[in-house]
Subunit: 351 residues, 4 copies
């Protein structure tokens, strides 16, 4: 209701603020008997962690996960799995000079209007730091999905106007941008360095491919698989759009082009992106999201302060020039959460 | 859980199939004391009704709404508002020749895999006819929103590759395509006629503008206003993507371009589309969805039958060449449902 | 949220008022492929129907169920099952003389305070007539449970101060009170006749026994099986209390008495009533509810009217002298809804 | 879904096990701007804390609460309030001798059947220790309710067969049993000492009175205020029944006795216990729950072990002879959670 929970059966609730004591998550509905240790979670958190490279924020957080409950003798018990990441590098004072100004592109203004409270410490609850809790929960869903034979991979498809020309899965974790094309990655890096020097930032497109799904996953009408994935993805602060399969190109296609014909071996094309009528078809589930350029830039911008006076603002601090490489594990995590939930919903119906 | 309900406080549950006895909706959480009569609903249903023009399906349905409960002496009582539209032109036999074939672009295959049951009668529950129930419910939400000073308007922005060049609100309900540009509408009509002759169909882009919203609407983290609108829109069968404000263009913008600066009078630009951090900013809420071309076409296509044999299929019948004009009221209805729900969620927090 | 839905996976939403067009229910989450026809529902509705005997209200309602959706070719499809019972004997005018008075024991006063609206027509939504919709939905759950080997039986244990001395399952459906002891039933009848002559009414205790449940059903902490059954039972207007197993007697027992010891064949006693820690033990699930005497009596009572003036009221009309026999199928229905939902929740966890 | 959350708008999720790292709770939907510090919570936790007297378990837990998020500069922010109580006296080894035996009256058997996992450490998640998290959350709800003018008080009404003869609110917190009659309390103490010497335990009845509620609180049909309170109370492990107002005595009353007549000043009697038709009447909300005798007793009992062999068991350890005094704050906490949630639900409807 208040927006901090996600999922129906495999359901998470996150808590915590950017510069409070920590962030965390309760995962309810975990299958009992799953072998789980903190290192299973840590490996995914490390992919999202700040300070990975010159592109990403130098904020120093080890993001070490602590399991507080739900695991006994190395296995999940079916009771709530709670995990906490204590903040180490919380320095609210760093935000004192902007505490009465609304940062452009940030939720400062809309949050104040909603709650009547201003938590100026690095966006408080609206901070991207909250997504660490999602990655922790997603790592559990991923373990369950992998046991089902499902693979989930996301990567930067386009950054700062440069598009990947090939899809090379091996490249993804071998360049700082998590791009699927090593050559394009080099060009992207050049462009990002330039933007960084200009105190500016870059956006991009992240694509996600999920394989190994059976046909028949998803619920009809309102909880279509694509509707729920869209909900999940647009719940990530920097994401401003999503498209499945042929996506926005479908606007210019005619039916005979867009329809995916079938033959004995299955679907011949995949313009639908693996979902028809909201239910998985068994083809590769394919979607793309657009990631806006990082809002925090050190370039002077125009804004107003709490008194309504027009002022200039420079958002100093430790920020990612491009958030794409660190958003990749968040997107994978959210996809995992939706999928594991839908596997369980499908089981429930026949249970 | 099973996907037929939407909303938290202002919550709807739809039921019914394309060629069963009818479709309907229960709206729970309606504000008591709202003046409401069937004609308030009918006016919106008439915008979605089949048989409006040569573009749309000639299926004959008056789509007459019957309120079964929740209204007493012309006012809502706060108890469940139930509405039914009985099907008049249900003719399951018309589907006999395709009952054992999977229609490309339709949910026939994925539904069978999900439920183990094949309801071949015009898509059954997956039919676009289900959206009539949403429009009925949306009309109630719209009445409540209008009393709050909120206006919601959607229209065809692009059809069959032709884009509107102007935004003329007066044009929208005065052309068969509900396009926001009368001249573009003429070109679109020519293109659609051609496609119809070729037994083919067209897709498009529908844009929606919402004005009069206060800043502060939406829930943080998972139930961001844009996340919930995306969920709502992607729950419409033909919608394959959504973008807010600058949308996918944000991928190529840098932060200093995309950030919406503020001055004393508010936001100077609206690349965010009226939502930052998932919470409304008070600026115009602006989004676009892509609508795939109608799947049912009379052109021969390749598919398989229930036995797995490769066959040819021609989806005869009564279908819209382009669904955009009829999807406009559905998109408005879904937007209304999300917004009224979030007004009530906001009230609940402080209640 | 607004209180008209029940269940998580097997979930119902009821609608309709006592003297409106009808009452009905949407059942979402029905297992696909269940053979179901209207007569499966009707048999349970007939047990709850008014006009069964001189004890019950002479209101003439055939309570004929109409399935509007969710069944195709005699089997459930997994999509929402909607059922309607149209009111035939609705005569709102009969309530004109009490339209401005608060009937003692009725929800007239509290509903007005809640909604700011007065629907004086025979309690409107608060009428016992709403429970017909629950019985219809419960009949579906019962079919699923019977296929699992679960049996559910409720009966009058005590009426008007007279307690059954034996438990004879065969007696239950063979006396007008659905008492489990034919001899006690005769005494109860005498007492009820007397109360009826005095324009008064009787309360009682209904007991419910459920057999064939596996151990392990129910959720921990907040959704304990007994917590959910209590929720279900207290949601029936006339029910004012519930107890499991030894129930209120447990207050005076010591631990060594109340604990159910185990031997090789299972639990030796059943003071727990088949639930420990909120989870079924596999022993008989046993609970009792107290049913208050019918509020509508033709005896003069003191009350106030809408203006706050003290007035006398006589609730003429067609009312049950004792509601116990007609509440029995409602109690069974609510128990079925809880149990089927928990079977599916258990399946979901491991799904 | 998995049973670890409670409430719709003011919603809590608890986590943690008896002998793990700690127990905790996330409270979502807290009104922003509420002044809140750890001492507001601690005062209620101290009432539930073990080791208060010779009656209660000597387990040494300070139950010190730590707020991890949701409070900034001494006020709630509207974001999730998370609180943790770290376990200090966790000694799983103490349970080694019973790790393969099912303790009578405990959830050992039913949990194993549900999860397929045995967490033998002092009941794990099923431990009464989980209720500390509820008390912490309830303390927040209580602050909000007190600002609304609502008072909530529970007390032991009957213990070990001895009933309070008077209702003296001042007595409650001045005797170790939280009984509402000081003289009865002395007799109860004698009886409990005796039972303790006999390695046995006592049950009782706890009554709760809530004053200051407006008329009109509660939702119709399934979420009646009494239904939700029953759900809340029966979710406490040791509670086996509940009754409102006249309760089980209503079974023997006739309608003219049980109906609460009204005069100008309100209801003349309160057999309904302050709720009619599931909605509050504005009269005192009054209910009683039965608390079973503590299951853990050092008296030898018959049971079986994991191999199914019949064995004798003595549940040594640190247990309350009578749980009533420590369950009082838990009952108050659960009542507070239900009520605050319903205030917000009422606001939502008109919001």
């Amino acid at each position: 209701m208040a927006g901090n929970s996600f999922g129906e059966i495999f359901r998470i609730t996150t808590f915590g603020e950017s510069h409070g004591k920590g962030v965390g998550v309760i995962v309810d509905g975990v299958t009992p008997g799953l072998e789980l240790q903190e290192s299973d979670i840590q490996v995914q958190l490390d992919r999202r962690r700040p300070g990975q490279s010159f592109i990403t924020t130098p904020r120093v957080e080890t993001d070490e996960v602590h399991i507080l409950s739900g695991v006994f003798e190395g296995k999940t018990t079916g009771t709530p799995l709670s995990m906490v990441l204590y903040n180490s590098d919380h320095n609210p004072a760093a935000y004192d000079d902007i505490m009465d100004k609304f940062r452009p592109g940030h939720a400062d203004f809309s949050y104040l209007k909603k709650y009547g409270i201003r938590d100026h410490r690095g966006s408080g609850r609206a901070s991207g730091r909250e997504t660490a809790a999602r990655v922790a929960a997603g790592a559990v869903a991923r373990k369950l999905l992998e046991a089902r034979g499902v693979s989930i991979v996301a990567y930067s498809k386009r950054i700062a106007g440069i598009e990947c020309q090939t899809y090379d899965p091996a490249a993804i974790e071998n360049n700082l941008l998590r791009a699927c094309d090593s050559e394009a990655a080099l060009l992207m890096m050049e462009k990002i360095k330039l933007l960084k020097e200009q105190n500016d930032s870059a956006g991009g497109i992240v694509e996600c491919r999920i394989n190994g799904l059976p046909a028949g996953l998803g619920e009809p009408v309102f909880d279509k698989l694509d509707a729920e994935i869209s909900h999940a993805m647009l719940s990530i602060g920097a994401v401003k759009g999503i498209e499945f399969g042929a996506g926005f190109k479908a606007a210019d296609m005619c039916g005979s082009e867009h329809n995916d014909d079938m033959d004995r071996s299955g679907f011949i094309t995949n313009n639908a992106g693996g979902i028809v009528g909201g239910i998985s078809t068994g083809a590769e589930l394919l979607f793309r999201v657009v990631v806006k350029p990082t809002s925090s830039i050190a370039k002077p911008q125009r804004t107003v302060n709490l008194k309504g006076e027009e002022v200039e603002i420079i958002t100093e601090g430790r920020h990612d020039t491009c958030i794409c490489p660190r958003i990749v594990p968040v997107i994978e995590a959210m996809a995992c959460l939706v999928l594991e939930d839908h596997f369980k919903r499908q089981a429930a119906m026949f249970g």
